[in-house]
């Protein structure tokens, strides 16, 4: 049972959270202009690394806010927690190129 630090409520058991998979997958701004392959990739294809992974969690049994976690999928060590609209620490080498928000 992992201990996930919700940025709003503090650390809680993972059973309080819902998982949202890979973070920073933006919905295409103009879906109509995407090809079938591009749409398939948006729908179904996600990174699945063994190691640090920027992912989304939602505190379902708490504040119900979505937020981001960088977690090592092999060790379950949580490396960073940050809010929607924020970006992972570039030093962790995960997720999109660090776009300052």
């Amino acid at each position: 049972m992992m201990l996930i630090p919700c940025p709003w409520c503090g650390p809680r058991d993972d059973s309080e959270f819902a998982y949202g998979n890979q973070a920073h997958i933006a919905r295409p701004s103009d879906p109509a202009s995407t090809s079938d392959q591009e749409w398939a990739e948006y729908l179904y294809f996600r990174d699945n690394p063994k190691g640090p992974f920027a992912e989304r969690w939602m505190h379902a049994a708490g504040c119900r806010r979505w937020f981001h976690v960088v977690r090592d999928t092999n060790s379950h060590v949580i490396l960073q927690v940050y809010k929607v609209g924020e970006w992972p620490d570039p030093a962790l080498g995960v997720g999109p190129a660090n776009k300052e928000s």
Partner: protein, 429 residues
């Protein structure tokens, strides 16, 4: 038993039999041969199978036995059968909803029937029946849909009343006042269980017998491609090995391999936990699955109750999950089988399952010519082992979709024709 002493295959291993046991007993079992060799990898092969689980070893066996491609290596990063082959709850059935799924799982089930004899290795395939329970009006309706589809696909299935279930599973609680009462179910009598490790060992021994090199402790670290981007070989922890035909069958690590090969798969690795109780005298003869309460149960030949549950919700390669899954699963066990609460959990463990968006597998060519992937079996791979290996060997040998495997192409995610088994598979396998 006349054939007991017959030799076969290029390596000339003696066959297993009661007579062989008796003969070896006279020499204190000191003269048994290795079930498979431990060869050094050759510089190149006609085909390479990456992943030495049941599916990979079966693929190699069928490449050699059906397609005559014997210059084959199976590369396993650890020990053969050490992934999900050795971590699952060993349930075998083919009672799937969709035609495409029914076809591939039934293909597998037909191969299971007779596999011990074909491989000359007792896989303890035991057709003790698989019961799926229904706990609500809604589930009864869903069950009817599945049963009709299964029946019309020519697969055995039988509807059970609550009383029928009780007769087959005397320890089950059929009190209609409980939160999820047993309102009926259906059984596939040809379904059952097998000894999971034996499946890997049996295929390994038979493949080795046909000349396949099984190379353990050999991790693939990269793929070699030629100027046109076609596959040429693999880099491994034991050096470069070349082949123009490579099949990856690495279950939980498929996404990692695809990453090395330069493309993505629509796959997520999730923990799947299971557990066994201490051994007790037989109390349950069939496999019983329940989607509503997320629990399935059987009893091994050793006497352990084998309990499975649903996957954890998050991505992980850690082969461990969260305790609340186990707690819920055991609450369901106590609720449905009230005698089990004083029995004891002996061992819990986790595997990594590769789950697809539609809960159906991928058996497919890839963007890289000569590179094939067989993955995405999720929580249901063990039962498919022989069929999966059989159709994947066919795909690798002929480079064209096998008719049974054709629907399970990567292309389906682009066009939208998914084979959505979520409802049909539930959690239970």
């Amino acid at each position: 038993m006349a054939e007991a002493g017959r030799r076969r295959g290029p390596t000339g291993k003696p066959r297993y039999s009661i007579l062989a046991l008796a003969r070896n007993a006279l020499s204190y079992h000191e003269n048994w041969q290795a079930a498979w060799r431990s060869p050094e990898p050759k510089p190149s092969y006609d085909a390479i199978v990456v992943g030495g689980g049941g599916h990979g070893l079966a693929t190699a066996y069928y490449l050699a036995s059906v397609h005559g491609i014997r210059n084959v290596a199976v590369l396993e990063k650890g020990w053969i059968g050490g992934g999900n082959t050795g971590r699952n709850t060993t349930i075998i059935r083919s009672n799937y909803l969709w035609d495409e799924s029914a076809a591939i799982y039934e293909h597998a089930l037909k191969l299971w029937e007779g596999l011990s004899q074909e491989l000359n290795f007792n896989l303890m395939f035991s057709q003790r029946g698989v019961i799926t329970l229904a706990h609500s009006e809604h589930e009864l309706k869903e069950m009817r849909r599945r049963v009709e589809a299964i029946r019309l696909n020519g697969i055995d299935t039988e509807v059970l009343s609550t009383a029928d279930v009780k007769k087959l599973v005397p320890i089950i609680n059929t009190d209609q006042g409980i939160r999820h009462p047993v309102m009926g179910g259906f059984i596939q009598r040809r379904g059952g269980t097998a000894r999971h490790d034996a499946v890997a060992w049996g295929y390994a021994r038979a493949a080795d017998d046909l000349g396949v090199d099984i190379i353990q402790n050999c991790e693939v670290t990269g793929f070699l491609k030629d100027g046109n981007g076609a596959i040429e070989g693999v880099e491994t922890s034991r050096g470069t090995i070349r082949s123009k035909r490579i099949g990856c069958v690495a279950a939980g690590h498929s996404a990692v391999l695809a990453d090395l090969a330069g493309f993505k798969l629509p796959i997520q690795a999730r923990p799947l936990q299971a557990l066994v109780s201490e051994p007790i005298k037989p109390v349950i003869d069939t496999v019983v699955m329940s989607n509503a309460v997320h629990m399935y149960i059987s009893q091994s030949d050793k006497g352990e109750l084998v309990l499975g549950a649903g996957t954890d919700s998050y991505n992980s390669y850690a082969q461990r999950g969260s305790l609340n899954i186990i707690e819920h699963q055991l609450a369901a066990a106590c609720e449905l089988y009230p005698i089990v609460s004083r029995l004891r959990v002996l061992r819990t463990w986790g595997g990594i399952v590769d789950t697809c968006p539609d809960a159906s597998p991928i058996v497919s060519r890839t963007p890289v010519d000569g590179l094939y992937f067989n993955c995405g079996w999720g929580t249901g791979g063990f039962k498919a082992t022989p069929g999966s290996g059989h159709v994947f060997a066919d795909l690798m040998a002929r480079d064209r979709p096998n008719p049974v495997a054709a629907p399970f192409t990567l292309e389906r995610f682009k066009g939208g024709y998914l084979i959505d088994e979520h409802g049909a598979a539930g959690v239970a396998h």
